[in-house]
Symmetry: D2
């Protein structure tokens, strides 16, 4: 094994906007929780960096596949003042990439495989959470790692997986063995790289939204990767009807490959009217806001809840947005409804269940619309600023 | 027993506003789901009416106590165009009064006492739900009687309890026997008349809000009857701290009698700042919006959730309001929070548990700040339009 | 329409065993809660009886299909002392049959279709609950109709559906319209007649067992109609693996038609060993005891829980049995497990969700292994005493 | 600070019984998961040992109070063949003691106080979990630390708190600051030492049992420390009636100090009959088996569930026992009941909620019936083999 490797790196200048103050977890010139307030002039490059070594509790992984996420795009994109668009935790320079799968090469001391409850021995196919939860703060102790108070994030402030190798704590790895039993070898790592975004959707609709009962109807607003994954998961959970609201034909095409039959084009028809038509006036039990445009879609969701006869419905808000949601309390009251927020993908058995679901037949491969090499990652990150045709662009490591 | 009895009656003229159309459950000149769109010139009176007879499944009750509710006030109050303020189900003329307790006098065939699973025999002390759920529509069949699609309401479109006697279906009655074991005779029926509003609060925080675990902290916004009852219930459920936001000194005085120690005066101090101070920066697990002013209070609730470290908190919206709630989705996401609506008090074991809680020590009598006779009911209904000093005005029948 | 109709009737003699006392709901010579203690010499016949008339809240249904249930067999079968085997609520003579579907012919006053919230007008395709819950006792008021304290049961103490027509309260009917949209006409009523047993399984695993999350693994012990329906439901809910323990090849064949891949033959291999092998040592999240032989199967279930690594598993006990279940508390403790009992199918949205699940693709038709006419019902009820090859024998009414 | 300190140590000989094999986590001559199969001739002593130093993520605590637990007694007690009675994880020689409170003296790098989310600085009053969950195995990653697959236990295989000082990972410590606000200084650490056993009861009835709703009735079988703590917790949660079954007058006296009014002496009266009498035939919603004698008490619990009208009740099994529980499935079915097992106290917000509940008024001090010095610990551990009069004997460190 060589000592150095290629990696897709993001650099930027520490140039805080006026009024910015270092937060409790910020580190001068290195790391901040408020990326878009600090980092200026982002620059993508492919560099040669040293191959890392696994420490205690860590493993070295040979990366096999890694998807590009919207946050990769926003970290590398600047506003008209030159600041990056991504508002969250960031520490540059940093190797990007957090939707990864790979093979364990070497394990540090005490690095245990959760799948076997034995030390990693090398050769295991794995995927990884993106969140490096500390395991010792109050939220972690309470069982809520997605709200860790001392979080690190792979590919944001810790070197990520657009590289030949990556070192990660064993505790965030999940075995892909069930996929190896169920899919051809070349598909295992692609599916593995889809686990992270699929788990975001799973956490949203199953853990936070409470899921549905077989025979319920659901409506997903927005056919980006999270919305599409939610469609597949809820169909898998027995939804009688999965209804997707999405105008883009490329995304609708993927939805159809995932088995989704009911599509509403909200630019051409009224979401609420069409939903009530499809459901014979009942409406849906679960609504997922995955557009990032709550100002546009929530009035229609509310109308569907108000006019539909379904009680006890849940609106899950997964997409981040600046706009306020204008909520009519009486709708929540008369229809016994609720609104919940969701973030993250860790904990709660999400990863092993997503992997088992894929192994059991929930084939998410249609989500990947383009496969690229590591050398093509920077240009594709740039291209995704404007290109809305692709769903998931995935880097296949050779 | 005489053939006639005194009753507090509300009459009004059927004079639909322009554009009004009869709804599916409306009855021309008799009943509507949209009271404030139809009823004009409301008139309160004390009249002599026939004593009703119990039919199959019904009982005749001698009323012992009945509280005045805010909706009684709004039914009898007109706007500047002469229409009643109350927007909901109404059928006039009607005897008002729905927060009642009394003694069973006579039972129709098949009228069973749920407390004993035997026919009523007379002499049983009972209180009543206000909602005459049909028991046969889809929500009722699903176990959600508060959302009955064929609802009647005592004292709204069915003759109520500001009268010597009332006939009610046995299925909405609940035995006060536990109170008879625990309280002096003269207090049993007063407590019984408080069951209905207390159950509205119980349903809101326990059934819909999911309750708390012992050691959690809660914040109640608004010290009207529902807010105060919620304070008592959550203290009973083991809240480490119950924090009430309420400016009116009369209401604060009642809260203190109910054992509430932490009061915030939102006119003099910031709710969010004071809450975070009391909770050492943690915030609350459950927030109850019981003011009817979400535009005023929700921003402060949201600030407390955002700045506090408590995860998984719930905002329960019980007060009706026209104003939108301006919700920041990111607060729900980052803090793993949710918003739920609530209405009603029926089903879910609410009534027997409230009665047992009162019997076990949750003494709600401080809620009653004034006792009146039936002859004084009309003037007190009028007085409550402006008088905010009283909490619960209760008619004691002789 | 004729005034009389053919019906499959069961008669028996009221001949209480020594020591029997009339219970609170028993009626001398007519009805008892303890069938096997009272009824002697059961006799099946096909008789001509008057066509019933629908009263208030009732409808007249033309029966289209009705399945034979094990309890039909046990009511008509006597022990060596001549008493019927069925131990529960019975009132003879009675028309048998409770797994029914049909078409509404005529509606009494106030008979509302839950599907439309409007009066039945005739022509609606429906199926029915078997339990005539009273809607007014404490369990019914609390939302638990399966535990009604004043229950009547179709085909047990109230005339059932092995007849040309039946009168039923509208509140226990459920529209088959979703099936009409999804299946050919001749399959709709067959599927409709399967709703009742499927709902028993749905209530067991979804409502009482709490269901699973997509990606979990389940084990069903016993491939009778309830066990098979549970397999289909849990596969529909996203089980990664559904594992059925069943020795009879005819039942295994049906399971395979329902899409079940993993079969254990407990007569030829160890259930626990095979289960742990299939699940790579993990075990299952939900176990359904549907054999009626807990003495035989529970030790193996317990072993699987103890040796498997799965935590938080649930054992649902649906089959009735006299034998005690020998439970090792430490297994429940160390594996964070639980045991729950289940009975019934009413309430909780079970029926509409089962119907929607069937409409959405959960095709239960392989459950029906034999179709007969009404004239063949008595002989088939007798045949089922010994014949274990058939799954569901269904009477198709012409 | 001295370099050495007094400690209560337990030594024993590694002398495996015939047929014993080293398990996956066992360490030859040092540690086993099956204590009673291996350790011979236990010997208690007070020794001088080095004061430990805190490593990364650890703190040094000056112990202030530590209670004696039944497992301390069983580790130091041998059967007639000379083997210790305690069957679980043990590694000798070991300093005993795990129900501790104390003051933080010194923090290693990265040792964070969950209460403040800042590094420990010294001077903080804390108590500790007994379970050193690894935080990286599958159960830990899923949020179930009580079922950690790589557990260490304070005072069992890791040096405990019957010593002047102890070193512990910061992640298992919980701040006693709320108690410092609410109680006199000398009571804070006594209450702190009661947190661990109280959390076992809290986890049992609240997390695993699902708790109750205010107004429900509960029955606790067995008035040992866990049973008594459960009484206090459920009273705090709003139980209308807390009913304790316990024959020993000393334990009953403590229960009364904790506010428990209803006591059943099962040696003098029938538990089920008396329970049904107290509850007017209803029975209880939650039953806690805390006697360790399920063969004796479960038949009575089952009888109470069967004959009572309460549905949906839960039996929580917390006491360990070899005897099987003889469960009648039909009781669970007809009464919609369930049985759950529980172990441990970690995670799920248990500790902070118990501390806040104590601070809010749940005064557990009556649990401590005897205070001793460290020198008296060995003799009291021996005395507890036979002495059933004491509830909690607590070592107060000077």
């Amino acid at each position: 094994m060589a000592n150095t490797m290629k990696a897709v790196r993001l650099s930027a200048d520490w140039k805080p906007r006026p009024g910015f103050k270092l937060g409790s977890k910020d580190i001068e010139k290195r790391q901040t929780y408020l990326g878009s307030r600090v980092w200026h002039d982002p620059r993508l490059s492919i560099e040669s960096v040293p191959v890392p070594k696994p420490g205690p509790g860590q493993v070295l992984i040979e990366v096999k596949a890694c998807g590009i996420c919207g946050s990769d795009v926003h970290m590398a994109q600047s506003d008209d003042q030159g600041y990056i668009l991504y508002p969250g935790l960031t520490g540059f320079p940093c190797t990007l990439g957090h939707e990864l799968s790979g093979i364990v090469l070497e394990a540090g001391p005490g690095a245990v495989d959760k799948n076997t409850n034995k030390p990693f021995k090398g050769g295991e196919a794995v995927c990884a959470e993106e969140m490096l939860w500390c395991g010792t703060c109050k939220p972690c102790a309470d069982g809520w790692p997605n709200h860790c108070e001392r979080l690190d994030e792979i590919g944001f402030n810790v070197d990520g997986a657009f590289a030949k190798y990556i070192v990660l704590p064993a505790k965030v790895l999940w075995s892909l063995q069930p996929l190896q039993e169920a899919y051809p070898a070349d598909q295992v790592f692609k599916l593995g790289s889809l686990c992270e975004p699929t788990c975001v959707a799973y956490h949203a609709v199953i853990q936070r939204g409470g899921g549905i009962r077989p025979g319920d109807t659901v409506a997903i607003l927005g056919g980006g990767p999270i919305g599409l994954a939610a469609c597949a998961i809820l169909k898998r959970q027995g939804a009688a009807k999965v209804i997707l609201s999405e105008p883009a034909p490329e995304r609708v095409a993927i939805a159809k490959k995932l088995g989704i039959e009911h599509i509403i084009n909200p630019l051409k028809e009224s979401f609420s009217e069409r939903l009530l038509e499809i459901t014979h006036g009942m409406g849906a039990t679960l609504y997922l806001e995955a557009t990032g445009l709550p100002g546009v879609v929530y009035p229609e969701v509310e109308k569907a809840i108000w006019e539909g006869r379904t009680l006890n419905s849940t609106v899950v808000v997964v997409a981040r947005a600046d706009a306020k949601i204008q909520v009519t309390g009486e709708v929540l009251q008369v229809r016994m409804a609720r609104i919940v927020g969701t973030q993250g993908h860790s904990g709660h058995g999400n990863f092993p269940r997503v992997i088992q679901s894929m192994a059991g037949g929930m084939n998410m491969l249609p989500m990947i619309t383009k496969e690229i090499t590591i050398d093509q990652v920077p240009e594709n990150i740039v291209q995704l600023r404007t290109d809305k045709k692709e769903s998931k662009i995935t880097c296949i490591m050779k």
